[in-house]
């Protein structure tokens, strides 16, 4: 109870300091919380940005497409690498090395190739989401006890049964974690792509507000985007919990 109280107190203190400091520095740059509320109201009533629903929907579609592609490619690639020992031992470290490169270095090339429209954001979200999924599949397959597979096979289980009854339960924990991380990174990729250069979507609105120094609108747009980000992660965590209950 005290912990919750202290948490809320800290939040209130933080907002109060921000309010005072924001007014003192320059209300335009400091954006005190009291200035955000009217902007948020205007934004949600579609007064300041009437194309908010369309932009939000575009960003959601970009995220969905990028994630679908990342899941398909990540699962496929991970299983190929995990099933073939030699290929996995050769390509696994190469994949891990590529993962060590800050992904944003690829973005200018993607923008050049795919243009300023949705395709470059989808490609970047895909790129970010792909690696954790593929690496999680790879790590998950390593967790499967090979003796269990041998025993199941000896008792006459087919490939599909071995996969469903032996491998999937053993690797599900890691796999689902990777899928969740992949979604979070897909979302980040799409948003980063939109902010670094786009013509439509939430990132474009944010850039528009920032460029015109409409900082109240900017913070309101960021809050709406945050709802999208947090919402996607909450959804993923619910699915994760369900999947984990299934294994127990």
């Amino acid at each position: 109870m005290t912990v919750v109280g202290l948490r809320l107190g800290l939040l209130a203190l933080f907002l109060a300091i921000w309010e005072i400091a924001g007014r003192k520095v320059n209300p335009l740059l400091g954006v005190p919380p009291s200035a955000v509320l009217p902007s948020l109201r205007d934004l949600l009533l579609l007064r300041s940005y009437p194309d908010l629903p369309a932009s939000l929907w575009l960003t959601i579609r970009e995220i969905g497409t990028a994630y679908a592609l990342a899941v398909a490619a990540g699962l496929g690639c991970g299983f190929v690498l995990g099933m073939h020992r030699l290929v996995g031992r050769a390509w696994g470290p190469m994949l891990a090395a590529l993962y060590a490169v800050p992904a944003v270095v690829w973005y200018p090339s993607l923008m050049l190739f795919f243009g300023l429209d949705a395709a470059s954001k989808i490609a970047f979200g895909f790129l970010l989401g792909f690696f954790p999924i593929a690496l999680a599949v790879l790590a998950g397959i390593r967790q499967v006890n090979p003796q269990l597979v041998v025993v199941a096979r000896a008792y006459g289980a087919g490939t599909a049964t071995v996969f469903r009854r032996v491998m999937l339960p053993a690797m599900l924990f890691t796999l689902v974690g990777g899928l969740r991380t992949g979604l979070a990174l897909c979302v980040i990729g799409v948003v980063v792509g939109e902010i670094l250069g786009s013509k439509a979507g939430m990132g474009a609105l944010i850039n528009h507000a920032y460029g015109l120094l409409r900082t109240g609108d900017y913070v309101a747009l960021v809050l709406v985007t945050l709802v999208l980000v947090v919402g996607s992660d909450v959804l993923a965590s619910l699915l994760e919990r369900r999947a984990r209950r299934w294994t127990e």
Binding site: V3, L6, R7, L10, L29, V31, L86, V87, R89, A90, W91, P93, M94, A97, L98, A100, V101, P102, A103, V104, V105, W106, Y107, P108, S109, M111, L112, F113, A184, V187, I188, V191, V192, I195, L196, I206, N207, Y210, L213, T215, Y218, V219, V222, T225, L226, V229, V230, D233
Partner: protein, 245 residues
């Protein structure tokens, strides 16, 4: 041995396929140049790109040192004091998780263009993963060790110095490895968004100028630098853990 051969064959095959695809005109060379066009571009951009890379790595180094020092101290402080940990951890997790790109326009408004926002944003990226890892490690230090040290009369100072710090070394090293990529990422993003110098700016201007061979060469240069840094840290990590026994 076979693994190495397969890796080399893969790289050569990928470059070969890429060369053929580009030569046959299946992709527009304006957007995807052949490797044989990228190699000379690497020489052409040489000095300018290296200067940009040095600038970027300098900012990254500053951001990295700050992230490690602040992240480890904050992690130890918050992790070892129970009340602080319970109150702060949801906030720390939230700040760790949200896409930091959303606050980037604000940072640029407040700090302007140049080195300061890049270092600040780099720290913002590097600090939280290190802090979260260290915080968890401090929380999970074996309670018996702490109790034994206490009952043998260890002072608080000795408890931190002799029990806590040695126990969290692996997590600190893990955080340091993770943090460097995040710091570099943060610095590059700022340079792309609002940079006047540095590798992110170089990449952005080549893309805007449709100079694909130069862009690919510069991308390869940054990637190689970052892979080299991570491999060096891995190597160091290996050496240190062997030394620890």
């Amino acid at each position: 041995m076979r693994v190495r051969i397969l890796q080399i064959v893969t790289v050569i095959a990928a470059l070969g396929v890429w060369e053929v695809v580009a030569r046959m005109g299946w992709v527009d060379p304006l957007f995807v140049p052949a490797p044989s066009a990228v190699a000379p571009a690497l020489l052409k951009i040489g000095r300018g790109a290296l200067a940009g890379l040095a600038d970027t790595l300098g900012k990254t180094a500053v951001a990295y040192v700050l992230s490690v020092v602040l992240g480890v101290s904050a992690g130890v402080a918050v992790g070892s004091i129970r009340l602080l940990r319970e109150v702060l951890s949801p906030y720390v997790i939230a700040f760790y998780g949200i896409p930091k790109i959303l606050v980037l326009p604000w940072i640029v408004l407040l700090l302007g263009y140049g080195t300061t926002p890049a270092v600040f944003y780099g720290v913002l990226h590097g600090f939280f993963p290190i802090m979260v890892l260290v915080m968890g490690a401090v929380r999970d230090v074996d309670r018996t060790l702490v109790a034994v040290a206490r009952s043998l009369g260890a002072t608080t100072w000795q408890l931190y110095w002799k029990v806590l710090l040695p126990a969290i070394v692996p997590s600190v090293l893990g955080g340091m490895r993770l943090g460097v990529v995040f710091c570099l990422l943060g610095v590059l993003v700022v340079e792309m968004f609002a940079g006047v110098r540095g590798m992110g700016h170089v990449l952005g201007s080549y893309a805007n100028g449709f100079q694909a061979p130069e862009l690919f060469a510069a991308t390869a240069l940054v990637s190689a630098a970052s892979i080299a840094i991570v491999l060096a840290l891995d190597h160091l990590n290996d050496r240190l853990s062997r030394w620890r026994g």
